[in-house]
């Protein structure tokens, strides 16, 4: 299958004395959807943020598409990348946040156009046309001129997905994209993600939506206390788990 899209070996991360990630091993192949599950505080968000270097690792190796995240290997040593080089690599990784984080001073279409115009140097006309297509794709073609405050939560999250897609990423990270939404709005967002997976996007999704993980996920990873407890086919991990901790967690959320 060639180089995996995400490859983590013994990833460690501490906040002060608290070791949040205690050696995570994980591989996501191209075109696969990996769902991360686990109780609150188990380090899911932290791991996701390590993948695009919003958090610095304290140990281990993490590479995206064969390139180390945040470092360059040279002469047997790891050299930390400059801000500009980090930014360069982040262009290829889209991220969607639990609280949307749309830019409130820009309309929906301006949110989507911002990075292509300012970072990728695409002309405004071209970026606008692309952005409109993306908004159409997430079902919000008619909301292009709305400010985020004039959109519902589910609509904001779909704009956020379009915004991340505008940079044509090869990997998408989702951090609980539906947990800030009213139940009736969750479906629209999951539909967009389902479509994205069907189009072959590689995705790492932190979620509490067991149904989604079972249906769309190629792998399910159950984390607890900063380690991977169990990983594998979601239809096995989430239906008939081997580990007691996984069983206990699933019995609580189901």
């Amino acid at each position: 299958m060639g180089t995996p899209m995400v490859h983590a070996e013994g990833v460690r991360k501490s906040f002060g004395r608290l070791e949040v990630l205690q050696g995570i091993d994980l591989t996501v192949e191209r075109g696969q959807v990996c769902c991360l599950l686990g109780p609150s505080g188990s380090g899911k968000s932290t791991f996701l943020r390590c993948i695009n270097h919003l958090e610095k690792l304290d140990g281990g190796r993490l590479s995206v598409d064969g390139a180390l995240v945040g470092y360059r290997e040279h002469g047997g040593r790891l050299h930390e990348l400059r801000e500009k080089e980090v930014a360069e690599r982040r262009r290829e990784i889209g991220m969607v946040f639990q609280r949307f984080n749309l830019f409130p001073h820009m309309t929906a279409i301006e949110n989507v156009m911002e990075a292509p115009v300012r970072v990728a140097g695409v002309s405004k006309a071209e970026a606008r046309a692309d952005a409109q297509r993306l908004l159409d794709r997430v079902g919000l073609g008619d909301k292009a001129a709305n400010y985020p405050s004039q959109l519902s939560g589910g609509q904001q999250q779909r704009v956020a997905i379009a915004r991340a897609l505008a940079m044509k990423p090869k990997l998408m990270l989702f951090d609980e994209p539906t947990s800030a939404l009213d139940p009736e709005l969750v479906g629209d967002v999951l539909d967009v993600m389902r479509q994205l997976a069907a189009d072959g996007m590689t995705m790492v999704v932190v979620t509490h939506e067991i149904g989604f993980a079972r249906e769309v996920g190629d792998t399910a990873v159950f984390m607890d206390g900063g380690v991977v407890v169990e990983a594998g086919d979601p239809r096995q991990v989430l239906v008939d788990p081997r580990q007691e901790r996984t069983k206990a967690f699933l019995s609580k959320v189901l």
Binding site: N52, L54, K84, F97, R99, R118, S152
Partner: protein
């Protein structure tokens, strides 16, 4: 559930909602206060108008005098230039103070400490007389004889330049704290979202954080500008030819202190009033997207008050769920 527990008597008395008339609270106190205020206002104006010591003829004579206009011009450009310098430098200092670089942090903190910690009047006099401290200004490499530029301090730092430096640098110290508060008021998720799109820290600051910080920055900076307009009067101590300097020059000769101060006050009042207009424009510009219903001025709100109370359109989130 509520209707079950409602007493039967109360339920009987209820009329259909469309025939109910709402009677607003009658504010008699407001009317009494208004009449009192108007009466005392008229009294005050009348007594001032009849007061011989106020010399209305002197006021009238100097209100549009050439000297006053020249001073007015200086005051205006000094205000604008100091605020531009203050805001630009203040933004740089604010970003430095928030920087993870300890050197930048220390330098900017020292700057704020020094310029906020000494009286502005002292700073003005200092810049006015800095020629006494350093006779020459030169730019070169220290401890060598290499110089790129050299001139006499007094020719470089004229009265108005000294005034500009004093006001601008002092303002920068205050503005930096306002800008810093503005930057810190922006949710961290905004910068993270920008970074995740590949935007550099500088681009993130310029395109995402500062425009949102503006909403918090503009009202206090409006205050600062109005304050600055009046504070320029202090530079009269170094004879910077601003409005106050020129007014003082006149009353030093004709001893009409009170009338001349009335002339000055009338002009300051007018300028402050004019300055408040661009502020509300700016607030509207940077308030884009901040509220669901867009901008509504107090006047519009008052006029539309009745219409807004009717359930005209549902713009809530549920409304759009299709």
């Amino acid at each position: 559930m509520a209707s079950d527990t409602l007493p039967a008597a109360a339920a009987e008395e209820r009329r259909p909602a469309d025939r109910l008339e709402a009677v607003p609270v009658r504010h008699w106190g407001r009317w009494v206060a208004a009449v009192l205020a108007i009466l005392s206002g008229i009294g005050l104006i009348g007594s001032l108008a009849k007061n011989q010591n106020l010399h209305w003829d002197v006021i009238g004579h100097y209100l549009f005098a050439r000297l006053v206009f020249e001073g007015l011009f200086t005051t205006l450009w000094l205000t604008v230039a100091s605020m531009v310098l203050g805001l630009a430098l203040g933004t740089v200092v604010a970003v430095m103070r928030l920087s993870p670089n300890p050197v930048l942090y220390a330098v900017s903190s020292l700057f704020v400490w020094a310029f906020r910690g000494t009286p502005l009047l002292v700073q003005i006099i200092f810049w006015g007389y800095c020629g006494a401290l350093y006779k020459h200004v030169m730019i070169g490499i220290p401890f060598t004889h290499i110089t790129f530029f050299e001139t006499e301090t007094n020719s470089l730092v004229s009265g108005s330049v000294a005034a500009l430096l004093a006001l601008g640098l002092n303002e920068a110290a205050y503005a930096s704290e306002i800008v810093r508060a503005g930057i810190q008021s922006v949710d961290e998720g905004q910068a993270e979202a920008a970074h995740s799109l590949g935007m550099s820290p500088t681009l993130t600051m310029r395109r995402i954080v500062l425009p949102q910080a503006m909403r918090v920055i503009i009202p206090p900076m409006g205050n600062e500008t109005i304050n600055m307009l009046k504070t320029t009067a202090l530079v009269s101590v170094i004879g910077a030819k601003d409005l106050m300097s020129n007014i003082q020059a006149v009353y030093a000769q004709n001893y009409q202190i009170i009338p001349m101060l009335v002339v000055a006050s009338l002009w300051y009042l007018l300028l402050v009033t004019l300055l408040s207009i661009p502020q509300s424009r700016l607030e509207r510009r940077y308030g884009r997207g901040a509220s669901r219903n867009g901008h509504v001025s107090p006047l519009q709100r008052m006029l539309a008050g009745t219409a807004l109370r009717l359930p005209v359109r549902g713009s809530g989130p549920n409304h759009q769920k299709g």
